[in-house]
Each structure stands twice: as structure tokens, then as C-alpha cells.
Amino acid sequence: MTTALRALISNPNTAELELIARYGMQPEDPRRERLFQAFAQTGLPTRRMEAWKWTDFKAALGALDRPGSQSACDPLASDEALCFRFSPDGFEYPKDLPEGIHLFVKPEPQALGSAEDVPLGALAAALAGSKTRPGTLMIEVTATDLPRLHFAFGGEGEASFARVTIVVRPGAELTVSESYLGGAGFLSSVFEYSLQGDAKMNRTVYQRGADKETMAATALVQLEGESEYTQTSLAFGAKLARLETRLVHKEADAKATMNAAYLVGKGLHADITTHVRHGAQSCVTRQMTKGAVLDGGTGVFQGKFHVPRTAGQYTDADMQHKALLLEEGAVVFAKPELEIYADDVECAHGNTCGALDGDQLFYMRQRGIPERTARALLTEAFIAEALETAGDLKDILRHEASNWLAQS
């Protein structure tokens, strides 16, 4: 089987060969086989694939190595939250769960819808299980007023994979957060969120990484009934860091808000990718992504609204991406895309790129504020808009952004 897979991936590099070897060590399972094949069809994504043209994993990840960097502190960890901790070799989870949260720790992998669209998600689902880690972590939520579920990814090692599936039943509400703290040479996680009628969810994603780490966090979100989904991400990048969300409005009148901010320093790369399918009538999507990039950093935004014929009628969707290039040497790539087959819809998209406004800087400096502080303040104000939706975690994210700006 592994030989066949090697043939499937064209010119496999060391990392791909190591991934095939890891797969070969897993117990045989037809579901795992399908998942790994979905990955092997493309191998590690390269710039030749349209969806990865600016984030080339094959080039960045030559081999699975320990990066030699430590995990960052986790600002979202809290005693009040129910913490699930993943590391390359281990998994810890709270044993006492409140009523309304049902946990199923499955050793084996489960089938993943649209696995072909998310090669790194399929890989995560195929390789998540080990002696110490679950193949699939499944959580069912049936109540409101629950403590936040927090998933933290840290610890040092060569590679870390995770697969989590969360179903929020009709009328239930959930706050969830994910922290990607670095430490692993390669990390890939896949989260599936399914919101049923009237369910509500607020998800926050925090990502930090170093210049020898590559990571991809893939979220597959399905909205049914009149559910409401809110997502706020803050990414600081890594050698390559990609936060990807693929959301489907499956039933009428669902609402999604997806905001993100990226702050990227030298030698780092942050990619915010979203794909929204308006598969039901009268659904609403609001999306705001803001970025600020320093010399030697790369920010990527790819957004797509797909509005199918008839099903997508009366869609109301808006996508904005605004980026600041704080210094010469900063790079920003953007692609806000629309694919529309329904005629009675509103789909707006906007994209701007530029430097801080000279007039505003001048105004602040003439008030006696040093240029460095003025720049940090203006950038923070610019970024803050995208973090507003993070609920109780908003201030923590803002604080993190402001610390980064003060240090850079």
C-alpha cells in the first residue's frame, strides 16, 4: 500500500515519504485509507494548486524535523474553560464535564466530507490517532450557558495531528477557542463544526509560531436552520501558517460572521483562507479581515463566496480585506473572489492595501507622540475592528496584538 501511495505522489520529498511511513505504521482501516488517499492525490500542497499558490507547503516543509523552538504561552487558557491539550505525543482532557457536553474519544478515524478539498485536513484526519491520542474526538453539545471549550496545541516534536468533530444541537450555544502555540515542526488539525437549528457558536482562534514551523488549521463548518456562527482569528504566522475555514450555509436564514487579523513579522507567513458556500436561501455572511505586515513578513488573504443557482437566492454577503504594509519589504497577497449563479443577491467584496496614513501620523506626532508609538497606536486601532467579535476574549486578543506592536 505504501509503495502505491509513493507512486501516487509525484516526486515525493522527504517530508512526504515520512508521512507515508507514518501512515504505514497505523493499523489498517478502510476509512484511514480513503483519508490518506485524499491527501496523497495532491501530496503536500504546492504553488501549482490554485488554492495554495501563495502558500507552498511542499517547498516549505522539506522534512519532518523538530524545529528547536518552544511553544508560546497560551493567553486563552483559563481555569474557567474546559481545556483539551494536544501535543505531538499526548492528549489531556477534562474528565468531569457539565451536563450538556457529551464527549466521545474514538481511537479510529472517521470519514471526512469533502476530504479532497482539504488535503492537509484529510492528512490530519488520517494520522490523528496514536497510542496516546484519539483518532477522532467527538463532542455533542445540547445546552446553553456552558463553559468555554478550549483546545490548545503545544509541546515540542516533529509533527502533530488532530481531528475534532463538534455537533451543536438545536437551540444549544457554545463558545469555543483554539490556540496554536507552535513547538511542532509540522501541525495539521481539522475541526468540524455542525450547528443545527437555532444553535449559536462563537469560535476564537489564536495562532503563534516560529520560523521553522509549518502549520495548517482547517475548519469545516455547516450551518443549519437559523443558526448563528461567529468566528474571530488572530494569526501571527510561522514559516507557513494557514487558518482555513470552509463554511456551508445548508439551510435558510443562517448567519455567519468571520473576522480575522494577521500581524506578521520577519521570516513569517500567515494565510487566512475562507470559502463560503451559500447553499440555502436568505443566508447572511459578514467577513472582515485586517492585516499588518513588517519587513520580511508575508500576509495572505483568500476569500471566496460561492452562490449556487436557485439555492443561493437572496444571499447577503460582504467580504472585506484591508492590509497595512508597515515597512518596506513587507508582502501582501490577496484574492477576494466571487462565484455567483443566482441573480437576486447582494455580494460585495473589497480589498485595500497600503501604508499608514501620513496625515494621521503627522497629527499624532505634532501632539508629542513619538513616531513608533503613533504607528503602533494607529495599527492597533486599525486591527481592533476585526477582533470585536471575539466576545469575552476580545480584550485578550487586543492585548496580544498591542504587545506585538509594542515589541516590533
Binding site: 504594509l325 477576494p336 441573480d343 460585495a348 497600503g354
Partner: protein
């Protein structure tokens, strides 16, 4: 079906198209007039043709080259392109879908047997004369168009300015080029590229393939191997070309591909405005059109390039029509040069076309104005690339896509700002309108920015850019919508009114369209 391209929601059923109420009735009417049943240029001309053997091989290329009595270097150039083409794959990233093309199933050369130049109007084959008459060109103008010796002067004196010099390309050859003598007086070279290869080999050699290299892309490489004719323009230093130049492309023969190559060079401080029009007969088979257009603007030069593309779009059910795979690129090589593309796209079954500007010179300017209307089963994937390399380079993209019937219309554009492009500036606005519930409108804008002091705006900040202009127009008592239309459409309107040929009427009707009710 073995297909290229990737649209996943093609319309296959026969449901009637419903148009929502908020769409302007005039717009619906204007789009309807462009439907294939109203295609007025769809007749064919029965004339004896000289054809290359069917199919594509080195022999075909040698045949074409020999027909044109080309120098050895050009044959080598073609053969090198052909070798390269054999190793290339047809691109599939565009949002168009069509059955796999059998490149051996086309004729790569077709020319009227009677030759290309005529001494007297009596020698002009009746069929060709009628073709131009039917296309709505007045007889005197047709005389001019057909290049009957002496007619140019007569027509020149008879007609008031502005005059338009025309190069008429009939299938694979240029049948006539008008006003050559008068243009020569100004130093402007305007002739078919086949003639230019003989008369100005140094100029052709110097510039051919420098903007669109032989190996640029699948279709451009195919063109480099088999290009048959096209127009060559050279405007010398400091000359403002005294009249509009124009090429009229007509595809006539069955199962042929047209592969024209146009090369326009504007030397320092020169100016030229060039118009291009295309029509083809209604045929059930798909015909292939893979053209290459190269523009070179040296220091302070300006090239204005306008296209009215009205190739046969195929019938309502998608039968027949032209596959239009075109590579158009302008190189603003000198400082302060300017290239401006304007296109009105109404024809072709499949369009794959991205007129681009390489803004190499400091302070150079690139512009792209486009109206693309698709009907029936047409598919258009069109847009532009603005590559900012020089300092303080500026570009502007205005694109309007209108989809009706069961068609798909995609805007695809790239704005790229290189590290050395200090203070580059771009403004992009693209609107799409869907007329009816069975069509698709798509937008794929790419932005690659490597300069902190670049200012790039896409759509969202329309008002920010034109605030002052808008305020000025509005304070004169003009309503907001009208003011925006005035500011955005002003240029397009101007160009369309200048169009000299039969399609001007159709193009003008496009002006009536309103984008009220647009989707994004």
C-alpha cells in the same frame, strides 16, 4: 464529456430565463439585441480559397512560412515555438468549459485564391466586395478598405476628418491596408505583418516576441508557430499618428483557425489610437482564434488600443461559435509612457483574454476599461494584469460584466506591485450584473503587493477615490448615479463613438445598459 476548464454549475435544462424586476428594462433590451439570433455578421462568403493541408505539423508551419516567402530566421522562430508547444498543456484554470479541442482538425492557413492586392476595383472579387458591403461598410469606404490603388487618395479627400486607416484581414491574410501613403508622409508604418517582415525586417526582429515571448503560454506559443497575418504599426519619435488605425478581422472559411499577430511600436513621444474589430460567419462547428497582440511604448509614448470583439458566439443552444484565446500585452518600456486598453466583448462562444500592461518605465500608466456582455451559452473569462515595476506607476481597471441567458461571465485580474515600484497606485472597480436566473457572474481579483508605499484599492473605496470629482459633478446639479456613470463611463463612451465600423451601432447600444441591481 472530456472537458477543459472548471465550472461546476453549467446550465443544462431548458427552463425559461426569469429576470428580476429591479433590472433596468433598457438594459435587458440592450442585452437581447446582442443575442445570437440578431447576429448580423453571420453570413459567409463563397470564394475559392487556398488552404494549407488540414492539421498541424512542422510541414504546416513550413507551408505557411513558404506561402509568405519568409526569411529563414522567422521559420526557425516558428519551429522553435512549435517544438515548445508540443511540450505544453492547455490551461484549465479559467472558468470556462468546452470539449477538448482536436488541434489536428483545423486548417491553419486559408487565403482567397485571387491574391491579396488589387490594381483596380474591377479586379476585386465580387464576393469580397459584397462581404464588406454586407458588413455595412459604405461602398466608397469599401473601396478604401479594399486597397484599390488610387482609391485611398480619393477617399481621403472626400472624407472629412477624423479618418480611419484600415488593415483588413480575411482569414489568414491581409487583403488590404488603406491610407498607407498618407501615413508614410507622417513617417508612420502601417502594414500587414507579412509585408513588414520583408520591408522592415530589423524593426520586426527587434520587437517581435519581446512582449509576449514564444513560450509565454499555450495559446501564445501556438500562435508563434502558426501566425498567419496581422498588423504592424510603427510610429516614429515625436509623431502623433494623424488618423485612427484599425484592423478588421474576418474569419470566413470553414474549420479554420485564425492566428493573427499584431505588433505596435510607439517610439519616444509618439501617439497612436488603434481599433480592432472582429466578426465571423455562423457555423455549426467551433472555430479557433488564438491571437497575440504586442504593444511597445517607449519614453513619453501613448498607445490607445480598442477592441470590439463580435465573433460569432454560437447559437442559443451553444452550437458553434468561436473559441477566442487571445494574449494581449503592452509594455510601457519608457518613462512616462501610457497604454490604455478598451474592450467591448459581445461575441465568441468562449473567451479567454487578459489584455495586460507591464509598467516598466517610471511614471508609466496602464488603463483597462472593459464591457463584457455574454448571452446564450457564451462563456467569457476576461480581465487584465497590471504589473507595476517602475517608480510611481499608476493603473486603473474598470470592468463591467453583464451575463444574460445561460451564460457565464468572469472577471479575472491581477495587480502586482514589484519591490522597486515606489509609490505605485492602482484602482480597480468591477461590477457584475446578472440578467435572469440561469446565468453566472464571477470575480477573481488577484493582488500581489511588495511595496509598503503602494496604494491599492479594489472597489470598496470607490467613493474615496473619486470624492472630489463626484462632489464637483454633483454640485453642478447632477444626481449621484448619473455622476458616477459620467465619471466611470466617460472614457468608454468616448471611444465607442469613435468606432468606425458596423459594430459601432451595437457597441453604442451597450451604453444604454445600467448596472443598477448588480450583484457584486
Amino acid at each position: 464529456m472530456d472537458c477543459c476548464g472548471g465550472i461546476d454549475e453549467h446550465e443544462d435544462d431548458c427552463t425559461d430565463v426569469k429576470v428580476k424586476d429591479s433590472i433596468d428594462a433598457g438594459t435587458v433590451e440592450a442585452a437581447k439585441r446582442l443575442q445570437s439570433e440578431n447576429y448580423s455578421a453571420g453570413f459567409s462568403t463563397d470564394i475559392e480559397m487556398d488552404m494549407a493541408p488540414k492539421g498541424l505539423s512542422e510541414d504546416t508551419i513550413r507551408f505557411i512560412s513558404a506561402k509568405k516567402n519568409e526569411p529563414e530566421w522567422l521559420l526557425e522562430w516558428r519551429l522553435a515555438a512549435y517544438k515548445r508547444w508540443l511540450t505544453m498543456e492547455e490551461p484549465t484554470w479559467a472558468m470556462v468549459r468546452y470539449p477538448k479541442i482536436n488541434y489536428q482538425d483545423y486548417y491553419y492557413y486559408a487565403a482567397p485564391k485571387t491574391g491579396a492586392k488589387y490594381e483596380s476595383i474591377d479586379d476585386v472579387p465580387k464576393e469580397i466586395l459584397e462581404t464588406y458591403e454586407k458588413l455595412g461598410i459604405p461602398l466608397r469606404e469599401a473601396e478604401v478598405l479594399l486597397g484599390v490603388e488610387g482609391a485611398a487618395e480619393t477617399a481621403a479627400t472626400a472624407r472629412e476628418t477624423p479618418r480611419v486607416a484600415v488593415d483588413a484581414v480575411f482569414d489568414s491574410v491581409s487583403v488590404a491596408t488603406t491610407f498607407r501613403k498618407e501615413l508614410e508622409k507622417a513617417g508612420v508604418i502601417f502594414m500587414s505583418i507579412s509585408e513588414a517582415v520583408h520591408e522592415y525586417p530589423d524593426l520586426v526582429k527587434k520587437y517581435l516576441g519581446t512582449v509576449v515571448p514564444q513560450s509565454d503560454n499555450f495559446f501564445a506559443t501556438l500562435n508563434s508557430a502558426v501566425f498567419s497575418d496581422g498588423t504592424f504599426v510603427y510610429v516614429p519619435k515625436g509623431v502623433r499618428c494623424p488618423m485612427e488605425l484599425s484592423t478588421y478581422f474576418r474569419m470566413n472559411a470553414e474549420n479554420t483557425g485564425q492566428f493573427e499577430r499584431t505588433l505596435i511600436v510607439c517610439d519616444e513621444g509618439a501617439y497612436v489610437s488603434y481599433l480592432e474589430g472582429c466578426t465571423a460567419p455562423m457555423r455549426d462547428e467551433n472555430q479557433l482564434h488564438a491571437a497575440v497582440v504586442e504593444l511597445v511604448a517607449l519614453e513619453d509614448a501613448e498607445i490607445k488600443y480598442s477592441t470590439v470583439q463580435n465573433w460569432w458566439p454560437g447559437d442559443e443552444d451553444g452550437k458553434g461559435g468561436i473559441y477566442n484565446f487571445v494574449t494581449k500585452r503592452g509594455d510601457c518600456r519608457g518613462d512616462r509612457s501610457k497604454i490604455s486598453w478598451t474592450q467591448v466583448e459581445t461575441g465568441s462562444a468562449v473567451t479567454w483574454k487578459y489584455p495586460s500592461c507591464i509598467l516598466r518605465g517610471d511614471d508609466s500608466v496602464g488603463e483597462f476599461y472593459s464591457i463584457a456582455v455574454t448571452n446564450g451559452r457564451q462563456q467569457a473569462d476576461t480581465g487584465t494584469k497590471m504589473i507595476h515595476l517602475g517608480k510611481r506607476t499608476r493603473s486603473r481597471i474598470i470592468s463591467k460584466g453583464i451575463s444574460a441567458g445561460k451564460s457565464n461571465n468572469t472577471y479575472r485580474g491581477l495587480v502586482s506591485v514589484n519591490k522597486k515600484a515606489d509609490k505605485a497606485r492602482n484602482f480597480t472597480q468591477c461590477d457584475s450584473l446578472l440578467i435572469g436566473d440561469r446565468c453566472g457572474a464571477h470575480t477573481v481579483p488577484y493582488v500581489e503587493n511588495r511595496r509598503a508605499d503602494a496604494q491599492l484599492e479594489h472597489e470598496a473605496t470607490t467613493t474615496k477615490l473619486s470624492d472630489d470629482q463626484l462632489f464637483y459633478v454633483r454640485q453642478r446639479g447632477i444626481g449621484e448615479e448619473e455622476a458616477v456613470a459620467l465619471l466611470v463611463n466617460g472614457f468608454v463612451r468616448e471611444v465607442l463613438q469613435e468606432l468606425p465600423m458596423e459594430f459601432a451601432v451595437e457597441a453604442q447600444s451597450l451604453l444604454k445598459v445600467s448596472l443598477e441591481g448588480s450583484v457584486g
